[in-house]
Symmetry: C4
Subunit: 202 residues, 4 copies
């Protein structure tokens, strides 16, 4: 299972799990308990709550994809460690843009900034994936699993469209963010299939 | 031990442990240090403290049950990963409703909202359990351990009763929440027994 | 290594590590960045900082002892899981009492409350230890390692003394808290020795 | 792989990962969502954001080095456990000095304090490294990997220079902090090489 390789992936996974768990959870701190106790108080929280759901799903997707990709990875080198930290950096900004977007009721600039952060995270994920493939070789498990990587190519394009859209219509921009999230929520069977082939090939 | 299966459960457990550890701990941030130093200052914290204890126990119960269930689970698929994230989403709202309930001294709407979040978490747990059983098959370890799942059926009924009760009497609603927690605090020997039989059967 | 037993200790350790890591780290959130930039601003933080150091050391001691105790434990049952959650509950209150003590410049009631929380944590640790010993049997690794458990008996006595002392002299009370911490900082070679004997006996 | 030794390193790594993950992530809480929605609001966050990036990189470097060092460590004793907690203590102050530096737009005293915390962390790391080498012996993996440890010697000197520089020119002080970070960002192939030799020697 663990042939050669410079370092095991255990701590990279553990550290990433920790950071992602904190990112996904501290966002809820923005849901500040209202002082009032009527339905109006709850209604005022709707935009904050909506932005929380969107970001929870987005970070969840990253955790999921990260989990799948490292499941197909057995060794990491220094370049992978730093590419991973780079991804975590951009994801760590998600709570900030989520709060800004929610508290300003989805104003244009916050919505565009949200797209910039997601775009940078998508690029960082792509860099990380490339580092792992370079380490494993083009016939490695990740390279074969990723394949044409359609979703990974569509997402940044959608974000690039969503950023200027935020200044035209926040509904359009929001619809693009939701569309990307829904696209990823559909179960990604690519890596699972490649792994299954790997296992049946044994 | 680990026959076939798409993925190990290690990271799902690690990520869930991280999120649950953060949920259970950030609730204490609501216990804001008073500026005064007399007993009156402490007494004012009693409702916040009471709601903290209730939620600490509830999240502790979820961690405990999650621990038992995944102890009897050896492989996870994409559906289980998402069902688990769905459960974590509802549990991540517990600090918010706990704070709201505590700071408003158990007002009706916050208490009802608390019940809604617990009800949704209970449903999410049921979905997660069903996904695992579907993956393992009806004669799998979890299916046998769950059995008639009396507690799992009573809890959502109690929550459904507690939600409207909050508008009649906050004491009644509170008593129902405490009753569900106490019911689960009694050690659940079902899965332990099923595991013991499994082991002795080897 | 892992003979029989109902459950492995892995997740109990992971969850405890997570909660203790969060407890020890969120305390630093009380060290709020001053708006001023002169030495006076730093000097005002001295009591908050002093209480932070004391609590960092105390939680560090608990992590250390927890680490040693579970190193000598191979299986856990439901009673151990709950006794562990009970310990984590009392430790989760440490950030609150630390903040209260620091922000009120070590006033009497906050200092006494600090002692109550530490006393309850010490009792919870004792209960946890007893549950493990009951599970392992009197000739188990933990029972032999604990031995006369002098430190474990002195600590609660010191806390019981420190609580009323806080109303007489905050210096006396503080000295007792520091004394207990220093006593534990001296490396505890008991469990290490028992483990070494175990290993050499193989 | 794991010959003798008092304790495994698993929980030390897990606890450190948890604390470092929290440290690196709670810093983002200082990036408070502005109420305004124009570019001016974002521009006001630039110093807070710049200090966040610097500290994210610094904590990332510590995690990276910690990961490498413990990869070459197989057993830990009580001295190593406490030296590790000592390192985590100084790193836990990074969010505080980061916030102070960012919110005061890099004023002299906050910048000097930042240097003091980084200097103490560098010393704590050196102590931790020494404890591990003492445990492993001078021909151990870490001792050979560290070698002349040029970076480890330059860093504290740079910090010692940066602290008084903060009172002369904040640009000079800032440039020194950035220089140290860049120096470490260059991949450290020392331990990787020593490990590779170790493995090829098998």
């Amino acid at each position: 299972m663990h042939r050669g390789g410079l370092m095991g992936k255990g701590r990279l996974e553990a550290f990433s799990d920790g950071v992602l768990a904190i990112i996904i959870t501290i966002m809820v701190l923005e849901l500040k308990a209202p002082h009032d106790t009527d339905l109006h108080a709850l209604r005022e929280l709707v935009p904050v709550f909506a932005s929380y759901i969107l970001s929870f799903v987005n970070v969840g997707i990253y955790w999921n994809n990260h989990h799948h990709m490292f499941h197909a990875t057995h060794r990491v080198n220094a370049a992978v460690l730093w590419a991973n930290l780079h991804l975590l950096f951009w994801l760590s900004l998600v709570p900030f843009v989520t709060a800004w977007m929610g508290e300003t009721n989805f104003a244009s600039l916050p919505m565009a900034t949200y797209g910039v952060v997601l775009l940078m995270a998508a690029i960082a994920y792509y860099i990380l994936q490339s580092r792992i493939i370079r380490e494993q070789g083009e016939d490695g498990l990740v390279a074969r699993a990723v394949g044409s990587d359609l979703k990974g190519k569509i997402s940044p394009i959608m974000y690039v469209l969503a950023i200027p859209s935020a200044f035209v219509s926040r509904w359009l921009s929001g619809a693009l963010y939701v569309a990307v999230a829904l696209m990823w929520l559909l179960p990604d069977r690519r890596i699972e299939r490649a792994l299954a082939e790997e296992q049946s090939g044994h």
